[in-house]
Symmetry: none
Subunit: 245 residues, 2 copies
């Protein structure tokens, strides 16, 4: 288990103080890769650098990208953090239980996503992840400061590298994020074509499929199998169409 | 075990942002008693109140005292936090191991002491405590931000009061075995029809699909959704065939 391949992904962070504090706490716990998606503040502002103290290099080497998919490029395991979530059927797990799973493929890129300070992640953004964590809080005040949430998760990750290793599933070949995403895209376009989905409801229905498949932690061979079916269905549907010409 | 009698004691805190953030994270994790020993900043300044967000009452009710012994008045158990400590022979413990000890006397006052941002606690101050914790950090950067350290300790305290409940799927509607089986049958016959499966290999290939879907613990609504897709594919394939007649 190792922290080297782990990306901390911040979705549209707006607070310079938060971003600087996050760089510091990442270095405190041995993490180095920070990715900012469409940041709403300057991550190299004097305030951010001041809060980073001796972790300025993490801000300086932080990757800035425009979209969440870019931030997740090639990641084989993705966890998203969530606060209160309505209309979400996948279970929210405790960080202590779920986060060590990110460290089970030490050579490969993995990501932990944090939402915006004010409104977290949208359901669409959550759907890019395979597991979801929520830091348990008092019911009287559930909203954690972003840097606090990142700090607690970094602490848990570092703690989990020190303790006895949790038994893992078989040495598996989990499908990278982009491969699974390509399957969803192919599925959606086929379902539109055969009239199962309608353009105006496709997104919400696809959300349910994403939740179902994300839960399974698809392996590379399984995605290939699922895509093979889609190709065969396309072929069967098209062939008849050609015959009609 | 309860958090009600627990005091968070800050020794000469100098950062308003830190004090405000600490109030917030205390409330997030169900703690309410904040004691400031000879503070070097105004704990009710606009900056502090801004960082506290919805925990302003913790700043307003914070007790300000001149000396550490006053802050510890009547406490039956006291733990101090330490960073790097030289010439200190008592062992530094992991917060996860040591902090629950504070909560074993729920009716009585207990305290957790944090040192100054820049130089922690003196040996004399440490000597007021019975146990000592140190949050394990990377050797490359050991110095945690004060609010981060308090946040992690509050999180650990709150975690230790919870009976370890693993979050489960909501009281859900798991599909009965026969409903799932009917889906597998329908899938198999469609895949044979469109030429994805061949009769002599169908069984072994279907095994892989069964493994994939069994892993997800399909719900009733999800099986209905998956079967809806199969019906639509059948329709799309058949329709063209009828047109060919």
């Amino acid at each position: 288990m190792g922290l080297a391949g782990l990306r901390i992904v911040l979705m549209e962070p707006a607070g310079q103080i938060n971003v600087g504090s996050i760089a510091r706490v990442m270095k405190n716990f041995g993490l180095h890769q920070l990715v900012l998606v469409n940041p709403q503040c300057d991550p190299r502002s004097p305030e951010a650098l001041m809060m980073a103290v001796h972790a300025k290099e993490i801000l300086e080497s932080a990757q800035l990208v425009a979209t969440l998919p870019e931030a997740l490029h090639e990641c084989v395991r993705v966890i998203a953090t969530a606060g209160r979530v309505s209309s979400w059927e996948t279970p929210l797990e405790n960080p202590r239980t779920a986060l060590p799973w990110l460290l089970e493929e030490p050579e490969k890129p993995v990501a932990l996503i944090f939402g915006r300070e004010d409104r977290g992640l949208s359901n669409e953004e959550l759907n890019y992840a395979q597991r979801f964590v929520r830091i348990p809080t008092s019911e009287n005040y559930q909203s954690l400061n972003l840097a606090t949430a990142v700090g607690i998760c970094c602490y848990e990750l570092a703690q989990s590298t020190q303790t006895t290793e949790t038994p893992t599933l078989a040495p598996n070949n989990l499908a990278p994020w982009d491969v699974v995403e390509a399957y969803y895209q192919q599925l959606e376009s086929l379902l539109l074509k055969i009239g199962y989905l309608y353009p105006h409801t496709a997104a919400s229905r696809m959300e349910k499929f994403r939740q179902l498949y994300n839960r399974t932690h698809l392996q590379i061979g399984e995605v290939a199998m699922l895509r093979g079916i889609l190709r065969q269905v396309e072929w069967a549907v098209n062939q008849s169409n050609y015959e009609n010409l």
